[in-house]
Assembly symmetry: C2
Homo-oligomer: 287 residues x 2
């Protein structure tokens, strides 16, 4: 039988399900800051690699078993994998455990978390960082340092769970930011999901032009970096955040139409005004 | 009286009008590779700075005088400045001189070049490189190294001018690429002008969302880097390439609508197929 739930991160056994870029980086960053880091991954090769890299104290054979053996579990899977795992965990009958995810959209996930059995204390999470390259090979303990880490408590989330989640976020060097799922999803559509679609569309428009392919410069490379993301993973995200993505696309489209109209009518001052406003915001907020 | 036109770059006095990022970098890269580098700039402070940095052998008091004193002149100004200079140079009555520009759109410029007096031997140019930061302070001799440098000969361009332009391009470490103005402008709209508008629109859509401003990550920062470009300079470019920009915006819009429709109808496989095609092209052509 396990003792009473630990109240500090240092006393927690932390489980990480999925040892890709995010899960692997979490494991590396948490090692030594909690009682134990226990990992599992569908791929035996990834699990072995994480073990050899010293990211884990112990391995578990799967997500359900992992939950039995830790105090705080993190689902570090793509959105589709998280939703599938939550579906399976509806039949969980083990000891109490805190459960956080790190998915890129939050509404669909916290809705699914609401149906978990009472022994699971759920909270949504999303670290705002990433790389174009996925997989444990690119994981690093410093990935979260200085970055915002969104936490989305459910009405049923105990205060102890939120407190431990905040400790975990700070332990990996990130800044916890508690916001409702809908506001997260609206913002994420604007700064991440729609920009991904745009990068893909830019590449799609340019790739048919042989001259464009030859003369594309560093600006275009940076601008389209996210188009190299895993389409299957991004598709999951887009589908789970469909409504917000649609609205963000519409907003963007209205803005672009405004630019095109001003250009067409040669309203140079109106367009200059709008472009200056964008530059100001870029410099002020998105450095 | 000047001797016969030199036939090699090493024998040429090269003039650079405008000593910003591109002109300053050209001067730095050309120093010692031609007979003389002569510079001029509207701003006395910039001219003094370039002189102190060792970018110039000699200064000229303005563009018209510069053309009298060199064999090969480069107009390294924003598109609007180039068009203004070409207008003034219609009254040039000095000795023969080769003239290249480095503007970001080419059709309007080569059209204006067609009306220059016969002593001026014009050719369009566009180095495919850049930085988000402008000005001589950011100039560097290595800016062009390994980058494509588009050359756009006019029907009236003498072969000797094209040959010298190619030598100059190679001397600064770039790869000359001779293409017609219309094909350049279409490609530039797709890889540079429309991406700029998109970056501005993305910032404009995100800036109104307080959460978006707080959680924007490195992906968004890279994606919107070009939104920090000088709006006045970009406006010049957009206006001079209005038709190609409109068509590229329409093509992009069709692609985005296709994505939105597939997402709306939950046609996951169709969308995945399109996103995979974009990733493939990104990896293959736009690294």
């Amino acid at each position: 039988m396990r003792a009473a739930s630990p109240t500090t991160l240092a006393g927690c056994r932390v489980g990480v399900a999925g040892l890709g870029l995010i899960g692997g980086s979490l494991a590396l960053a948490l090692r030594g800051r909690c009682a134990e880091v226990v990992g599992c991954d569908r791929s035996r090769a990834t699990l072995a690699r994480a073990w050899r890299a010293g990211a884990l104290d112990r391995c578990a054979p799967g997500i359900e078993r992992l939950l039995y053996e830790v105090d705080f579990a993190v689902l570090a899977l793509p959105v589709g994998g998280i939703l599938e795992a939550l579906e399976r965990l509806r039949h969980y009958d083990g000891p109490p455990v805190h459960l956080m995810d790190v998915g890129s959209s939050k509404r669909a996930i916290v809705r699914a978390m609401a149906s978990l059995p009472p022994a699971i204390r759920p909270i949504g999470g999303h670290p705002m960082c990433g790389k174009a390259s996925a997989g444990f090979a690119h994981a690093e303990a410093a990935l979260f340092r200085g970055r915002p880490f969104v936490l989305v408590p459910l009405p049923r989330t105990p205060h102890a769970t939120l407190r431990l989640a905040r400790s975990l976020v700070r332990a990996v060097g990130a800044r916890p930011l508690t916001i409702p799922a809908a506001r997260h999803d609206r913002a994420a559509a604007r700064i991440s999901h729609v920009p991904y679609l745009l990068a893909a569309a830019l590449v799609d428009t340019a790739r048919k032009d042989a001259v464009a392919r030859r003369i594309a410069a560093t600006g275009f490379r940076d601008l389209t970096r996210v188009a190299a993301s895993d389409p299957a993973m991004m598709l999951d995200v887009l589908r789970s955040n469909r409504g917000a993505v649609r609205r963000a696309l519409q907003a963007l489209n209205r803005t672009l139409e405004g630019y095109a109209r001003a250009l067409e009518r040669n309203e140079a001052r109106a367009l200059a005004h709008r472009l200056r406003a964008a530059r100001w915001a870029k410099r002020r907020w998105f450095r």
